[in-house]
């Protein structure tokens, strides 16, 4: 597939790996923010190939992982409510809330449906006017335009039976929290390329100014990741704290103004709880009062403000902030596996624990 295969070329990967090894005068600590990047680094064996040159930490960029149990519990309640169908992305269905997962709710008779896009849920609402269709919307700024578009289309279509249980989060405030961690060791960040496709990366200049940590906008294919790392190491080796775009075929300084307008028309910035990280100031998006008719919290009187999480030895919070790597958790690979996950990072296809379980537990990695 064009714009994919050429960035997985094994000779190019080998050359880039060697280039990076030569660049490093010391073992730098770099955090990739996005779960998609975490999985690609492990799946393609890049982390282990660079083990002696770099320490890669994996950040909180897995929206499934940071969705609080209270939101999942509200979704479960809705799915079990007569006349309501709860729709979401497949990843969300296996995440344990305090009363089980949405898949378990479906087994108990709940109406839980997997959709590829929020717009598919709108189409479903148009087809089934006698059912309340609720879309459980999670995701970073990459996904928020799709949710905003769904709400705007539902309004345009005059749908009375569509609403959204939204838990959209924003990346940069979480990066600030990690950068401010007194025991944090991150020396530079790979910013999430697809978030930057929407938001741009101009806001990172203030972040770099405030934290002194370089930020490199980075893509998701192996060559993209190695390009991002290479730029990052160059900044570190030359002691330059700056913002550099290493994913310029998709990300532009100003992002996508059309996508940003969609977000801004439907959502407003809000203090939002992140599972494992607590409430992050300005860490997410809430549906504007003008669209309250489409806000499932108001429509069904749901309270998702409880930030208590089920008691567990699960170290998801420490994993999501890069304090520990997944194998350091006492549950990892023993009681916590993808089949019996104790925490969301083991469930999600983008969770760091799932990535380590799939690709790094035995020390084996797959070829690119």
């Amino acid at each position: 597939m064009k714009h994919v295969d050429e960035y997985r070329d094994s000779a190019a990967i080998a050359a880039a790996l060697e280039h990076i090894r030569r660049m490093c005068s010391r073992r730098w600590v770099i955090m990739d923010v996005c779960g998609g990047q975490t999985h690609a680094l492990l799946k393609h064996g890049l982390e282990s190939a660079l083990e002696e040159s770099l320490e890669l930490l994996h950040g909180p960029g897995c929206p499934v992982c940071v969705t609080p149990a209270a939101v999942l519990d509200a979704a479960t309640t809705l799915s079990l409510t007569p006349g309501v169908a709860l729709c979401s992305f497949g990843d969300m269905l296996r995440v344990p809330g305090s009363g089980g997962s949405l898949l378990q709710a479906r087994a108990r008779g709940g109406d839980v449906r997997t959709v590829y896009s929020p717009l598919d849920a709108v189409a479903l609402a148009a087809k089934q006017p006698d059912r309340e269709i609720v879309f459980l919307a999670v995701g970073f700024e990459t996904t928020a335009p799709a949710t905003a578009l769904a709400i705007l289309q539902a309004r345009e279509l005059g749908l009375q039976n569509f609403s959204v249980l939204a838990h959209h989060v924003c990346v940069e405030p979480a990066m600030r929290q990690i950068a401010a961690d007194p025991v944090g060791r991150v020396q530079a960040f790979l910013a999430a390329g697809h978030v930057c496709t929407v938001t741009g990366y101009e806001t990172y200049h203030a972040f770099v100014h405030d934290t002194g940590l370089p930020v490199v906008v980075t893509g998701f294919e192996p060559v993209d990741l190695l390009r991002g790392l290479s730029v990052c190491i160059d900044l570190l080796e030359t002691e330059r704290a700056d913002v550099v775009n290493a994913y310029d075929r998709c990300a532009r300084p100003e992002g996508n103004p059309h996508a940003r307008r969609l977000i801004e028309s439907v959502f407003q910035v809000a203090d939002v709880p992140w599972r494992g990280l607590g409430v992050i100031p300005s860490g997410g998006l809430a549906i504007r009062p003008a669209f309250s008719a489409y806000d499932a919290r108001r429509r069904f009187g749901l309270d998702t403000t409880n930030t208590n999480e089920p008691e567990s030895e699960c170290q998801a919070g420490a994993v999501l902030t890069g304090r520990i790597k997944p194998p350091a958790c006492p549950l990892f690979g023993t009681t916590c596996t993808p089949d019996t996950p104790a925490g969301a990072p083991m469930v999600s296809s983008e969770g760091a624990c799932a990535a380590y379980f799939a690709y790094a537990l035995s020390g084996e990695v797959t070829d690119a």
Binding site: D9, G61, P63, D248, C250
Partner: protein
């Protein structure tokens, strides 16, 4: 979650600013995607699609530049004279 899949714009289905859609070819698999964020896309452009919504037009020149940079990196490995230098 933030997975983005590149695909080629085959044909516009609907040009409405809010509900506009186009058929996108993902390496042989075709699907109608929402185009509200890329109203200027033309047939033949590659777009990055996430959750059914095209989020950006992929910049072909920037993509070429990335690949050229990559080839320059590979040059020293192929160069047995030892004269090549990495960028």
């Amino acid at each position: 979650m933030c997975l983005g899949v590149p695909g080629r714009v085959e044909r516009w289905i609907d040009r409405d600013p809010l509900t506009g859609r186009a058929e996108i070819d993902f390496g042989g698999v075709k699907r109608a995607c929402h185009m509200a964020c890329v109203p200027d896309a033309v047939e033949g452009d590659f777009v990055l699609v996430h959750a059914g919504v095209a989020l950006t037009i992929i910049d072909a020149a920037a993509a070429e530049q990335t690949l050229d940079d990559m080839k320059r990196l590979m040059a020293p490995a192929a160069d047995t004279t030892g004269a090549g230098t990495a960028p």
